[in-house]
Symmetry: C2
């Protein structure tokens, strides 16, 4: 689908991609952690784009995860906010390998 | 307004009241903490009722807070999830005084 092509493009074109919703504190926590580590990341606010729900459905097909935040580092699916927070020890290395820092 | 009367009623009629949204992880964290302490609490999912936005506006008038979760214990405004988590040490006592445990 167009949404799936768009989602995959975002994943492929960015060292770090965060599929987010602007009002969501879990998404904010994810962005804060990445910013604290100096990481550059691409984020799309799915509540603010017309194809947001379609992109969420596409992500479910790609990752089996429909929730936000949906996080990719170096095209690798990390998961959600809890998954990212759990990886804090290795996160700097992951980001360096992906060229995000 | 009708929404303000409804919101105030929920606050007044319950030892613990949580104004919530069903898809929100911060709201889930609040409910989990209360449940872990054995507290009985009333929750309304503002995304699942027709007057949800109106209730959120009413809560902003009552508490200056429009975000969810919006938490009351013994008719006292606690705040959001972060505020509740920060009160963990005294929370059991607060709940006992309110008759929620
Ligand atoms: N354990 C997950 C929880 C993810 C989650 O439940 N996200 C919520 C928002 S906080 C969600 O996507 N709800 C459904 C939706 O917004 O479509 C994480 O840490 O990211
Ligand atoms: N620091 C606050 C954050 C509250 C917050 O930003 N809540 C979000 C959902 S996680 C919200 O209400 N967004 C606007 C809305 O849903 O109307 C807390 O700990 O509760
Ligand atoms: S919507 Fe509240 S934490 Fe995501």
């Amino acid at each position: 689908s167009a949404a799936k092509t768009k989602a995959q493009g975002i994943i492929d074109d960015n060292a770090v991609a965060v599929f987010s919703k602007s009002y969501c504190s879990y998404c904010n926590a994810t962005k804060t952690l990445l910013s604290e580590l100096g990481a550059k990341y691409y984020t799309i606010e799915l509540d603010q784009v017309d194809d947001g729900a379609a992109i969420q459905d596409a992500l479910q097909e790609i990752t089996s995860q429909r929730s936000v935040p949906n996080i990719f580092i170096g095209q690798k699916h990390i998961g959600g906010n809890s998954d990212l927070q759990a990886k804090k020890a290795e996160l700097k290395n992951l980001l360096q390998s992906a060229g995000a820092v």
